[in-house]
């Protein structure tokens, strides 16, 4: 079982599914015991979704129109 510091190192590769099977087991056995790391992992997961949502700015209709006007085939 790893400690909190090692668990922090595993955070990104764990969520990216880049850990080996043994490392996943190691991280999970710590997560089972440690509510602090569990909260940190869950926060990271939700943060990623939020960043995606918060940074997604729709394109203006004006730009859409300008792009369509660039077509050569029309």
């Amino acid at each position: 079982m790893c400690n909190c510091e090692e668990c922090e190192q595993f955070l990104q590769p764990y969520l990216d599914r880049q850990l080996t099977e043994a490392e996943v087991l190691e991280a999970e056995s710590h997560l089972d015991e440690c509510s602090y790391c569990r909260r940190a992992y869950h926060f990271e997961e939700r943060l990623r979704m939020y960043v995606r949502r918060a940074a997604s700015e729709p394109m203006s209709i004006e730009l859409k129109r300008k792009l369509a006007a660039l077509r050569i085939s029309l």
């Binding site: 922090e8 190192q9 955070l11 990104q12 590769p13 880049q18 909260r39 940190a40 869950h42 926060f43 990271e44 939700r46 943060l47 990623r48 979704m49 939020y50 960043v51 995606r52 918060a54 940074a55 997604s56 700015e57 729709p58 394109m59 203006s60 730009l63 859409k64 300008k66 792009l67 369509a68 660039l70 077509r71 050569i72 085939s73």
Partner: protein, 195 residues
């Protein structure tokens, strides 16, 4: 020497016109996704709109260079990235980036220290505003931000991001990990005043 009959010629022209129309329509269908990435590769909406327009103008002119059946979204982004680099975007050096990084728990720790435990039910936007995300993202150095924007916001795979940015997949992954840590450090500075 074989002679091209007017009929074959007409057919060829018609087929080419049809292919071109299809290409343009498919490219325009992807414009929202291209813009979403472009918006955070540069610092303003105007710059992003200008960049997307130039990329589409170039794509429409050189449509024959696209191989049908391959990834059009990545092809368009590759054009856009090249234009952005041609425009003289400064390449940032990595050494001073180290000072921008913190551990992966840094932001979480600061938020819990200042506002109490973050429960599973609590929404992230109760602690971090949408503006703070956009601000923090713009403070991440370009090389790192491009990878975050492609993978975490644009949903490109590591391999696609590597192809678009013309860097090895391993570099994509290390920049992604470091970039996310820089982003979180910036967010902590935005959201927790005494950091």
């Amino acid at each position: 020497m074989s002679e091209i009959t007017p009929d074959t010629d007409a057919r060829r022209i018609a087929r080419e016109a049809r292919d071109r129309v299809r290409f343009e329509e498919e490219a325009l269908d992807l414009a929202d996704q291209v813009y979403r990435v472009a918006r955070h590769m540069v610092n303003s909406r105007e710059e992003a709109e200008d960049l997307v327009q130039e990329a589409y103008a170039r794509a429409f002119r050189s449509w024959k260079q696209f191989t049908p059946g391959t990834n059009l979204r990545a092809w368009l982004l590759r054009i856009l990235t090249n234009i952005n680099i041609d425009r003289g975007r400064k390449i940032q050096r990595t050494p001073d980036v180290q000072s921008l990084e913190a551990g992966d728990y840094y932001l979480f720790e600061k938020l819990e220290d200042s506002g109490g435990e973050i429960t599973d039910e609590e929404r992230v936007d109760e602690r971090l505003s949408q503006d703070s995300i956009v601000e923090a993202l713009s403070a991440v150095p370009h090389d790192f931000r491009d990878v975050i924007v492609l993978v975490d916001i644009g949903d490109f795979s590591y391999a696609e991001a590597a192809q678009i940015l013309d860097i090895p997949v391993g570099t994509v992954m290390s920049r992604l990990h470091r970039g996310r840590r820089i982003l979180k450090r910036q967010l902590a500075e935005e959201a927790v005043p005494d950091v």
